[in-house]
């Protein structure tokens, strides 16, 4: 199934790349209830990076949520040999492969089957505006839409090409939004799985709400037991570089895809 169509909402919570951070996910679901979101949509990349991928999947399948595939789910369900993240640098690919191999070997077949049934896109209406939820971009599951590389004329073209007012995406791990007019634009919801390369240990999710003048995209920080996650990653023998990111909030791998400005903000 490529597309799923949902009904109309005014207040929706979006969760980007989870990367097996089931502790942050537990916290996010608790917060979702007090935020009074009408719907929760998780946007793929459930595995990778963190420990015990099945724990994330069990949580996801227990909750009443909507989900789309990310490149991870597409890769796992299709039996691919790599995650299809779209990195080009050999060091980035080296670490991406470690994540993928670990995730693949620890994910149960039944969960992989479920991933294969998820849609690739969701269309819904938020506050009457046509909204398209995708993983990377509407045209490519692993296209990186970075804040400093997604200019207005390009956004205009994508909205036109895909017949929508709003594009909601993730895949980059960094959250941002750009509206070309009230009610029309792109929201990248960031990632729940790892910090935003800003030296802080919290992770992020996004609440999108329609207010009379347009959309309000609220990026919500989530504090969770990162130390426990880090210890579990260590016990699972995941690379110390990954653990360092969880403990420090700075990215240490998969850096070469970052554009100049995003790269300059980080430590490495």
């Amino acid at each position: 199934m490529r597309y799923a169509n949902l009904e109309s909402y005014d207040r929706v919570l979006f969760i980007g790349g989870i990367y097996s951070n089931y502790l942050a996910l537990e916290k996010a679901f608790t917060m979702a209830r007090s935020l009074k979101a009408e719907a929760v949509i998780v946007m793929g990349d459930f595995g990778g990076f963190g420990p015990f991928p099945d724990r994330t999947l069990e949580l996801l399948r227990r909750e009443k949520i909507f989900a789309i595939q990310g490149n991870y789910e597409e890769a796992l369900a299709g039996g691919a040999e790599d995650c299809g993240c779209g990195y080009t640098d050999p060091r980035d690919n080296h670490y991406a492969q470690i994540s993928y191999d670990y995730t693949r070997s620890c994910t149960s077949a039944e969960h992989v089957r479920w991933m294969g049934e998820l849609p690739r896109y969701i269309r819904l209406s938020i506050g009457g505006q046509r909204t398209l939820v995708c993983h990377g971009s509407p045209r490519q599951i692993n296209e990186f839409l970075w804040q400093t590389m997604t200019p207005r004329p390009f956004i205009e073209k994508m909205l036109r090409d895909f017949d929508t007012d709003l594009i909601i995406c993730t895949h980059t791990g960094l959250h941002w939004s750009r509206f070309i007019e009230p009610g029309r634009g792109v929201v990248n919801v960031g990632a729940l799985g790892r910090p935003a390369n800003d030296g802080k240990t919290n992770v992020w999710m996004s609440l999108l709400e329609w207010q009379d003048y347009g959309f309000r995209a609220e990026f919500i920080p989530i504090e969770y037991d990162f130390d426990r996650l880090a210890r579990e990653m260590e016990s699972e023998k995941l690379p110390p570089e990954f653990v360092a990111t969880i403990r420090t909030g700075w990215w240490t791998t998969c850096l070469e895809v970052l554009p100049a400005k995003e790269r300059a903000r980080g430590q490495f």
């Binding site: 804040q147 590389m149 036109r160 750009r178 070469e256 100049a260 400005k261 790269r263 490495f268």
Partner: protein, 301 residues
Amino acid sequence: MTTGQVVGPTTAEGEKKFPFAPLAALDVLWLQVAGTICNLKCSHCFISCSPTNHSHEMMSLAHVRSLLDEAKTLGVKEYYFTGGEPFLNRDLLIMFEVALAQGPVSVLTNGILITPKVAARLRELSDASEHSLDIRVSLDGYDAETHDAIRGRGMFQRAIKGVMNLNSAGLVPVITAAEVTDDIGAERGRAQFLEMLKSLGVNRPRLKILPILRMGAEVERTRAYQEWESLRGHTLSETEAARLQCNSCRMATSKGVYVCPLLIEQDGARMGDRLTDTLGPFELKHSACFTCHSTGFSCRT
């Protein structure tokens, strides 16, 4: 990215044909702002740039502006400035300012003209924009010996100065290296580059390796393409087409709009005067197309 048709080779009059690459979307616009004019004369330059090569002239600000206007209506995602040596174009910084207002900008330079003053101005331009300004400096070796053999005596030190000036201005340059020797792209070569950059105090080293293109000056340095290096008779799958940079780019020079940054000196690669003339498919009959297809490389960062 799979709109447009992919035409496989058919046999008319018993002759094997070349595949065509469709343009899925014009994401990347290249601007050959310094034409083929350069302050260096590198022995591997695939378009033989030099101080005296006027095959493609400097682009005027007015010309660049009109292309940028057109690009805006087409929804271009990013702009690449190159040459020759782009910093020889005296309007370059104004061009950056105009381009940065509508999208991210990358520039490919040999680094020599990046003084502390220019670096500081680049930083200002970057800060004033919501988009990235990416500066790519070419180093064809991690030491003076390799680099200078290609680029001329003393040029390693001068390029390094440019890198340091950018670094001090808080910009994070990308180092571009052509695979002039076998080890450069290999693990050891990459590690040496990163080591060298770190030792200079560049703490976020970025590296882009490019394959050799056997055209222009490179023909003298090593060899020309041979007949087997061709896509004649090859069928291009959609995935293969999507990997080619001509699937999402065009290159504008003073002489018109070309299919890609590689072929501006090749017959038949000029597709029109304006961007809108060049949105159709392109026949991959050039030897460089073979390099693109077999390596999957793109000139983008």
